[in-house]
Amino acid sequence: MIGKLKATVLRNRGFTGALVLFAVLFITYQSIHPRGFSTAVLVQNSNEVVALAFVAIAQTIPVLIGGLDLSVGAVMTLTNTIASHVVTGTPMQMLLGAVLTLGAGTMFGLMNGLIVVYGRIQPIIATLATGAIAIGLALILRPSPGGDIDGDLNWAATNAVFDFAETYGFADNGNAAWIQPFVNIPVPLIILLVVALGVWLPFKRTVTCRTIYAIGSAEGAAHLSGLPIARAKIAAFTLAGFFAACGGLYLAIQTSSGNADLTQAGTYTLNSIASVVLGGTSLMGGTGGPIGSMIGAFILRIISFFFRILSIDPLLQPLIEGLVLLVAVSLGALRTFRVKNKLGLFR
């Protein structure tokens, strides 16, 4: 039994490592924060991480098939601008707008998938190009930042459950007894977990998902085993598009506006890759998963949280941030030094 547990942990070293690192960083941060462990701080933290977490999840799935999606940041930006146009009006219209936004992102992902599978273009390049296209479209939709998404929605979606209830006046403004256990949970966190787990866990138990892992691990074998390779690849990029759109939609709600920011798109793509790696997913594909990447995103964010509570020369902060990132990803080297059979290195 205990042996089994040990084996499982060993098989998911990367993930376990990420979890531990996260726990350490988070607890340290919260305990030195003047208002550590308070709802306000949790809400703030989750608000900051949601968009990145979604994009990191999006990145994970193409990475699992051994590809990379350099368009996730751009798709987030594109959907962000779309949302800033369509998520307005009556609640019904807003809901419709949200669906439209997610649909658009999913379609874009589907397009990536089709190009990769039927165009036979390496994912990394295909998405580099489609990413540029996405940014172009975003710039057309929002030549300059703007759009106003309903303020209540913004307030409700970026707060704790209590304020949510209060804003929309249900559970008698969040004072009902049944809701008390939840009032302090940040809404953004709920959104993130519900969407991520709600989509991923069922998907994980399909042959398509199994094929995604198989492709990343040994495409030839997957092919000989008669697995639906094309379907799986297309699914991977489509899902990536969907999750990137979730990021874009939330970003739009959070900033109640749309902004076709080229640099920001780039930042998010690169950070998504960093999150995936920190989360213990191998860029070779085949091992890991979105949950890990979510934690990777948390880790990435927490690193910068520290600058706000410690006094560090502002002109040294970028350096420190860079070094910490470098060291964090270099922890992956521990594996290398455990490897006694050097051939094990070349997998």
Binding site: K4, A7, T8, R11, P202, R205, T206, V207, R210, Y213, A214, G216, S217, A218, G220, A221, A222, H223, L224, S225, G226, L227, P228, G286, T287, V339, K340, N341, K342, L343
Partner: protein, 504 residues
């Protein structure tokens, strides 16, 4: 033959790869409830044949019939659905998925449309029991398993699809003798259940033991089919390689052994090598025998510098020698022909020439710049020496068949003219003809005063061409057999470590 009761049947099937004709107007059929062996040299077209049967490749010409009705499968999935299941020469397991997931990879048990992991696991346990692999943890990742174990899982995977036609393409090449037994029993069961098995192997013994009917292929053509016992071994081999063959193994050492080339004492690494003592002298072929996973591979890799943290004394050519990396071992005069030519030995998509030159650029460059003329000469010489069947030295290696690929691996090392060459099961999946050429080559090397250390899964081979055989058991060398003591019985006994003077 009357094709009425044939379950699968090929009519005038041909397959071309660019210029190469892999199959040439083949008519072939096999009956339900029989085991049908297919024999042929490397490149004879065996794999191509079964790849066409099982939907991996399409036929360029001709038609395929299943139970009399014509079919053309566009994917293995379609073939499987039709009851045709194949175990391919190149394994089809996914390293990062668990054993259970691999066994039921494309048709897992479902509940409400979703994979039912518990059920899958328990079904896997049952299957593993059926193939006598209870030791394998269904949750283990394939990565963690040895090659022989993987081949057994392959078989389990095939059984899980309860096939009506089961095809094994050299599926037993890496199996240890007792696993092979298990497979025999299974195939006999299946035959009893009316399943048709197509069995491809280069081990005459196995084919003999199992098959009811044999078909011989030679460069793409179906030469002849006959019932078991219809022809004797030499006749069969003759059909396969299309010429008279003389004694299978070259005569043993004629020259006296020279001084010690390599001597190893109490070599330890992790828990695979537990104090190996070994001597290899100039002018002799030393064999490594024993069951799978007793540390042969580690020993060879370790000597070649691919393992870290190995302890023990090694002297090589009189000097102490500490293997630290293949590059350094190469310079010292060692060479290694690795276990898996496809992933460790060759750059499949690179040209034959580049593959041969890979370790040798120093020798064909002047002042760090490659001299084209020297390079081409060197390549031509190597191809000539090993009689590699190539169209042009610029073709990718992947277009060669297994045997010729293996020759390329050996060729690139011979160019360095090493003092000792370590071979890890070099004749696995290689046809008789090529095997003989390789045996002869080894013999020539040692005649020229070099040394050879040969690990083989094939006992006959060890007995046939080694001057001395060291049998490994549990990371140690438990006995050395030479001359008359070198018999199959002796090796088997030693492999199982049943000795009157047993140390352990």
């Amino acid at each position: 033959m009357n094709s009425s009761d044939a379950i699968v049947q090929l009519r005038g099937v041909s397959r071309y790869f660019g210029g190469v004709t892999a199959l040439d107007n083949v008519n072939f059929s096999c009956k339900a409830g029989s085991i049908h062996g297919i024999l042929g040299e490397n490149g004879a077209g065996k794999s191509t044949l079964i790849k066409i049967l099982s939907g991996v490749l399409g036929a360029s010409e001709g038609q395929i019939l299943n139970n009399g009705k014509q079919v053309s499968y566009r994917s293995t999935a379609e073939a499987t659905a039709d009851g045709i299941v194949c175990i391919f020469q190149e394994l089809s397991l996914v390293p990062d998925l668990t054993v259970a997931e691999n066994i039921f990879i494309d048709q897992p048990p479902r509940r409400m449309g979703m994979i039912d992991n518990r059920k899958q696991r328990q079904m896997a346990v049952e299957l593993l029991a059926r193939i006598k692999c209870e030791d394998v943890d269904p949750d283990a990742h394939i990565r963690e398993l040895s090659l022989s174990r993987r081949q057994m899982i392959e078989i389990a995977k095939a059984l899980a699809k309860n096939p009506r036609v089961l095809i094994l393409d050299e599926a037993t090449s890496a199996l240890t003798s007792n696993d092979v037994e298990t497979v025999y029993d299974l195939m006999n069961e299946l035959r009893a259940d009316g399943v048709a098995c197509i069995f491809i192997s280069h081990r005459m013994k196995e084919v003999d033991a199992l098959c009811d009917r044999l078909s011989v292929f030679r460069n793409g053509q179906h030469i002849q089919s006959f019932d078991k016992g219809g022809l004797n071994e030499t006749e069969i081999v003759q059909l396969m390689i299309g010429r008279e063959i003389t004694a299978q193994y070259p005569p043993k050492r004629s020259t006296p052994i020279g001084e010690t080339t390599l001597s190893v004492s109490s070599l330890r690494w992790e828990n695979s090598l537990k104090g190996v003592d070994l001597q290899v002298n100039a002018g002799e072929i030393v064999g490594l025998g024993g069951l799978d996973g007793q540390g042969h591979k580690e020993l060879l890799l370790g000597l070649f510098g691919a393992l870290r943290g190995m302890t023990g004394e090694i002297t090589f050519q009189g000097g102490t020698y500490k293997p630290s990396s293949p590059a350094q071992s190469k310079r010292q005069g060692l060479a290694l022909v690795p276990e898996d030519r496809k992933t460790e030995g060759l750059m499949l998509e690179m040209s034959i020439g580049d593959n041969i030159l890979l370790p040798n650029y120093k020798s064909v460059s002047q002042a760090g710049v490659i001299n084209g003329r020297l390079a081409n000469e060197a390549i031509a010489k190597a191809i000539e020496l090993l009689q590699i069947k190539v169209g042009s030295a610029d073709d990718p290696v992947e277009t060669l068949s297994g045997g010729n690929q293996q020759k390329v691996v050996i060729a690139k090392w011979l160019m360095l003219n090493p003092d000792i060459i370590l071979l890890n099961d070099p004749t696995r999946g290689i046809d008789v003809g090529t095997k003989q050429e390789i045996y002869r080559l080894m013999r020539d090397l040692v005649e020229a005063g070099k040394s050879v250390l040969l690990y083989s899964t094939d006992y006959a081979e060890l007995i046939g061409c080694c001057d001395r055989v060291c049998v490994m058991y549990d990371g140690r060398i438990v006995s050395e057999l030479e001359g008359d003591t070198l018999t199959e019985e002796a090796i088997v006994a030693a492999s199982l470590n049943i000795h009157k003077d047993d140390p352990a």
